[in-house]
């Protein structure tokens, strides 16, 4: 049912963007061009939108993926100025400064930037990247586990160190996992200089550290057969549980989200410095922020669209946690301190 509704929403969004594009395209006179989009393995967009881009602007979009976001940025930094692609999508706020310092991007932000939710555009790397989507990393809760034991679900990060929740939380190693890193940054943003002590308390309270999100979520999380009812994951994991469930889909997810201590990840797109296709590349960044792609983002990648007032699918409005006060650190702070933070975390956790 929800998928039917979302399809309708998508069709409306696509056709309205088609109309808009049809109105605007008469003034442009770009010839046929191929733009290569460099992105990470998790990138997904509906094929119909790529066909749409071709019809509207004559641009053929080629997608190349380069491992996870870290590998992708590493490759882009090494190839700065002589890029393998024209546009990069999927760099987040933890890695942004590295890429900006290495002059990976040329100066450009989308003409649609005005439509972006205000707090997301605070940092555009001095006008080189455009925010496309965002998501929050939060502790997820196996509701059934807590109901069965008549134990109240935790409501704050502080509570996770209390004896009532001993041996219940599984996190990921920040050195090997993106949500693991985000959760560590969340504790730094929340506790400041005291963050090391917080982790000492977590450690004493039996926190388990997994190497990867997959290992933590698919194996250790009690909702999936493990023995830990609290796991670091995403605010959109509950709706994803529904979308990727077996038919017939359950009517509501069996997991929920601890809305305190969530870390916000913003994903950006930018034109790569050295592209031979500057103008067409810019159009692709605009396209990523167009109403059509933005409406596609939730069900494709399980993140929230950066464009304000984008209609969300029902499964999102019903089950995705809305985080009113997400935690965030300045990209430049992360860049300057990450190495030390990681080794401090390693010392505290004995890893």
């Amino acid at each position: 049912m929800s998928s039917l509704l979302s399809k309708i929403a998508l069709t409306i969004a696509v056709s309205s963007s088609m109309l808009l594009a049809a109105c605007g395209s008469s003034q442009q006179e770009s010839g046929p061009a191929t733009v290569t989009l460099l992105t990470h393995d998790s990138f997904v967009v509906s094929q119909v939108l790529i066909d749409q881009l071709k019809t509207d602007s004559g641009i053929t979009l080629k997608i190349t993926t380069a491992g996870d976001a870290g590998s992708m940025v590493a490759g882009a930094v090494l190839a700065s100025g002589i890029p393998n692609a024209d546009v990069m999508f999927g760099i987040d706020n933890t890695l942004l400064t590295k890429a900006v310092d290495a002059q990976v991007f040329s100066s450009f932000t989308s003409k649609n930037l005005d439509s972006v939710i205000p707090e997301l555009k605070k940092d555009t790397g001095n006008g080189v990247v455009t925010p496309i989507d965002y998501g929050d990393v939060c502790v997820n809760i196996d509701d059934a586990w807590f109901t069965k034991r008549k134990l109240a679900k935790p409501t704050s990060l502080d509570q996770l160190t209390s004896p009532a929740y001993k041996d219940l939380l599984v996190v990921q190693d920040p050195a090997t996992s993106s949500p693991g890193l985000a959760f560590m940054l969340a504790t730094i943003a929340k506790y400041g200089d005291q963050w090391g002590q917080y982790w000492e308390k977590l450690n004493q309270n039996g926190v388990k550290v997994s190497g990867s999100w997959t290992d933590a979520y698919d194996s250790a999380f009690s909702s999936n057969g493990g023995s830990y009812p609290l796991v670091v994951s995403y605010a959109t994991s509950p709706p994803a549980e529904i979308v990727y469930a077996e038919n017939p889909k359950p009517t509501k997810p069996s997991t929920s989200v601890l809305t305190d201590g969530c870390y916000r990840q913003v994903e950006f797109a930018g034109v790569l410095r050295g592209t031979r296709n500057e103008q067409a590349a810019q159009q692709v960044v605009d396209w990523l922020l167009s109403a059509g792609v933005q409406a596609d983002v939730p069900l494709s990648m399980f993140v929230f669209p950066a464009r304000a007032n984008t209609p969300l699918p029902e499964v999102f409005t019903k089950f995705a946690a809305k985080i009113s006060q997400p935690l965030q650190l300045l990209a430049s702070d992360v860049n300057a301190n990450l190495k030390n933070w990681l080794s401090e975390w390693g010392q505290v956790m004995g890893r």
């Binding site: 990727y244 077996e246 890893r351």
Partner: protein
């Protein structure tokens, strides 16, 4: 010469690119964390290698000398763990042992042993098949116990193959990535995982390059040691008449074969069965849904193609890799025998074992991923990366066998007036055919399961099966997990079929 050229262009150029770019910003280094990681990784690798060798040798012996029902199946099955993506193996072990064992040293060693059993069985087995069984028979008839016969007759002839195989296994465990990420803890870090952390997380390229060089140096030392032993021509004279597999002759022998084969199969099958169970099960009970949605998941999106399409892609790369790595590897091995500089080439060709997948992937992309030579769009970079990874294994399979072949055939042929080439092929031709099929098959298997280097390469077409599995595992939902397990099972079954097919092909040729 061709292998040398292949390696220089596809290994030398990319690495130069990475190191050049990495060192553009000069920094000072503190190598103490790297050294302590190297030390603990060496301990872990040593234990893993010892275990894999001790368990692998009896299996290799039974498979190489006896014919029995299910032999081809057993041989294929033992190869499977080596080919499966480490993520899948790690997952299977978690399903099996996760509740009993916490991530750490023991779990890593068990997984490494499991994966590398195939290296011992196949490399040592390739030589073992060609030993003259009559010698053991003679020793036994003179009153030697089976163990004594093995120690005095068989073992000396196998020493080259064993040290070759063991050094390869050691290097695999020393440079392991996927297993230590998922099943390890702080005590099981490797330089490879350190390099990954330095490149993709800290983007600290100079330090990563230094770490990569350190790893390369250490691995080269190990391989040199292994090569010193394995390049010594075994004194035993072997004949060109290959042994046919023989059925067990006595009751004791029959039960020995039965016990070893059963142990081998159950060792390999146990984790795989937990995977199969997961692919046929959901929270409610038994289901076929995961298998039936193999073709349909993610259609209509840019997750190009369904999981089913990934199988086609993987097979294509595997075939290419088998051919390329087979030719290059066997060429390099021939070079060692015939050319003055051959040994140097062979050692260089073993180097990819020690070059981190991350470094290799980044290097290939830098060197060939942009004009003037943009190979990225043609998608040949992936089979190239796979070939580079597979060539050392091919050499490890081929070289001991060639060295064990009687050189006097070539001498006899030349003295009868044959040209050097003709003499070479008269002596080594029959063996080369068998060995090339075995080696090409192994390379194809490496390609099927390879994830490390390939994951760093940009790709524009369908993902391979391992990449697709990892993508599925990286999102929530019962369906993602179930389909990933089903896809992993397809890889398992496909590998068993491929390996059994290659083995059958090889056997047909040499049992004349």
């Amino acid at each position: 010469m061709i292998p040398a050229l292949f390696l220089i262009t596809l290994l030398g150029v990319p690495l130069t690119n990475v190191f050049q770019r990495s060192f553009e910003a000069g920094t000072s280094f503190d190598l103490s964390p790297q050294l302590s990681i190297a030390f603990s990784a060496a301990g872990q690798a040593l234990v893993s290698t010892l275990l894999a060798t001790c368990i692998g040798l009896p299996i290799a012996g039974v498979l190489a000398t006896h014919s029995f029902k299910g032999r081809a199946f057993t041989q294929a099955l033992v190869t499977v763990p080596f080919v499966l993506p480490t993520v899948v193996i790690a997952l299977a072990f978690r399903e099996l042992l996760g509740s009993a064992l916490a991530p750490g040293f023991l779990l890593v060693v068990i997984a490494h042993t499991y994966i590398n059993l195939a290296v011992i069985v196949r490399i040592v087995g390739a030589t073992w098949q060609q030993l003259d069984p009559r010698k053991v028979t003679v020793a036994r008839s003179l009153g030697a116990s089976p163990i004594r016969a093995f120690m005095t007759v068989t073992f000396p002839e196998l020493r080259a193959a064993i040290s070759s195989a063991a050094s390869v296994v050691f290097v695999f465990c020393f440079t392991s990535l996927g297993v230590v990420l998922v099943l390890g803890n702080s005590s099981t870090r490797t330089l490879e995982s350190q390099i990954l952390r330095e490149t993709s997380l800290l983007l600290d390229f100079p330090t990563a390059a230094i770490t990569a060089l350190l790893q390369l140096a250490l691995v080269s030392c190990v391989l040199l040691l292994g090569a010193r032993t394995s390049l010594k021509r075994t004194s035993a004279v072997s004949t060109l008449r290959f042994t046919r597999l023989r059925p067990a002759s006595s009751k004791a022998q029959r039960s020995y074969v039965f016990v070893i084969a059963t142990i081998a199969c159950s060792l390999v099958l146990l984790p795989l069965l937990s995977l199969a169970y997961a692919s046929l099960h959901n929270s409610a009970g038994w289901t076929l849904e995961w298998w039936s949605s193999l073709a349909s998941v993610d259609s209509g999106t840019t997750r190009l193609g369904s999981p089913l399409a990934a199988i086609g892609t993987s097979l294509r790369y595997a075939l290419l890799t088998g051919v390329v790595a087979g030719i290059v590897g066997v060429g390099a091995a021939i070079g060692v025998l015939t050319h003055r500089l051959g040994r140097a080439v062979a050692l260089i060709a073993l180097a990819p074992l020690g070059i981190s997948a991350a470094t290799l992937g980044l290097g290939l992309m830098l060197a060939y991923g942009r004009p003037p030579l943009d190979l990225r769009s043609s998608d040949v970079l992936i089979p190239i990366a796979h070939s580079i990874v597979a060539v050392p294994l091919v050499i490890a399979v081929v070289l001991p066998t060639l060295l064990a072949t009687d050189k006097r055939f070539a001498i006899a042929a030349s003295s009868l007036g044959a040209s050097p080439t003709r003499a070479f092929f008269t002596a080594y031709g029959p063996i080369l055919r068998i060995v090339m099929i075995a080696a090409g098959g192994l390379a194809a298997c490496v390609s099927l399961g390879e994830f490390g280097a390939a994951s760093f390469l940009t790709r524009s077409s369908d993902p391979t099966v391992p990449v697709q599995i990892v993508r599925l595992l990286q999102r929530p939902g019962e369906q993602s997990f179930g389909v990933a397990c089903a896809l992993a099972m397809v890889l398992v079954l496909g590998t068993i079929a491929l390996v059994a097919g290659i083995d059958a092909l090889g056997k047909k040729r040499w049992v004349r």
